[in-house]
Symmetry: C2
Amino acid sequence: MQDGFSIEELKIRLQNSKYKLTHQRQDVLEVFLNRSGEHLSAEEVHRILRDKGYDIGLATVYRTLELMCSPEMGILQKMEFGEKRARYELKQFEPNAHQHHHLICKNCDKVIEFSEDMLEGLEEKITKKCKFRILDHQVIFYGYCQECAKKFEN
Amino acid sequence: MQDGFSIEELKIRLQNSKYKLTHQRQDVLEVFLNRSGEHLSAEEVHRILRDKGYDIGLATVYRTLELMCSPEMGILQKMEFGEKRARYELKQFEPNAHQHHHLICKNCDKVIEFSEDMLEGLEEKITKKCKFRILDHQVIFYGYCQECAKKFEN
DNA sequence: GAACTTTTGCTATAATATAGTAATTGAGTG
DNA sequence: CACTCAATTACTATATTATAGCAAAAGTTC
C-alpha cells in the first residue's frame, strides 16, 4: 500500500473507464503530486499551470477536478471550508482516510492538518439514533495559528 | 438562562450599540423565532418575508444576517456546509453552544442536528500539539437521511 | 419636530462555478 | 499509419451567491 498517487496510477484508472488520458489531466495531477499536502483551489491550479506555460482553460480545470473527485477515479478529495471556493487535496490511500482534520486560521486562512480520529464511536451512535447512513465526515476547527495568535496577544 | 431570543432581547442589544431597531431587523429575527431549529439561507429568509408581504431588499437581508452574527450582537450563527450558500440559525445560549453537530443528506440537502460533544479532549490536544488557538469548531457528517437511504437500497 | 446618522432598496459588480458549442484530440481499428 | 468517432477542450455566456456604492428614507436624540 503506497503513500500517494502517480501518473501511472492515473493512466490505469482512466483505462479502466471510458475516460481518456489527456495532457491536461496529467498536468493537473502533477500539480498535486508536486505539492502534496497543499490544499489548492481550482483557480490556484489554473494559475500554477498557466504560469508554467501550459495553456489550459479554467473550465477544464474544474471538470478535471470534478472527475478526479468522482468515486470511480477517487484521486482527489474535495473540501469546502466555508470559504466561497472549494479546495482539493490528494486522497489518502488508507481505508480510514478521513481520519485527518483541518485547522483553519480565521486571520490568514492557513490550513493545517491534524491527524487523529475520535469519531469512530460517534458514527455508530448517530447511525442508530438518527437512522442516518454516514458516508463521510468533516471536522474543522476555526481559530488562530501560532503566528496570527501572536498578533492578537496584548 | 432562557432557551432562545426575543424581540425584546434584540432591542436591548441594539440600544447598547450604535445600531438602530428597524422594522426589517425585527422581521428577519421573527422569521428565525417562528422557525427555530431550521437552518435558513439568506435567499430563503428573503423569500419568506416577501411571501408575507413585507417589502425587504435582498441586500438588507444579507446585511442584517451579518450584523446578527457579529460578536456584538451574537444572535445568529452562520454555518457553511459546503453548499454554495451559507445558512443561519439562532445561536444557543449555553456557554458550550457549539456542542451540536450537523448531519447533511447528500441527496436532499436536509440538515439534521445531533447533540453531543466528544471533542473536548481533542481541543486540548490540538492546542498543545499544533499551537493553534481554537475559537470554534464544526463537525459535519455527510450521508443519506432515512428517506433518501431507502431510495438507494436495492 | 429638526438635525444628524444609520439604514434601506435598488442596481451594478465581484467571485466562484457550470453549461453550451464548435473545433480538437485520444484511442481503437483496419 | 491513416481513419473513425466519441470524448475532451477552450472559449464564452450564463448561473449563483454575496458585496459595494449611492441617493432616498427612516430611526434616534434633543
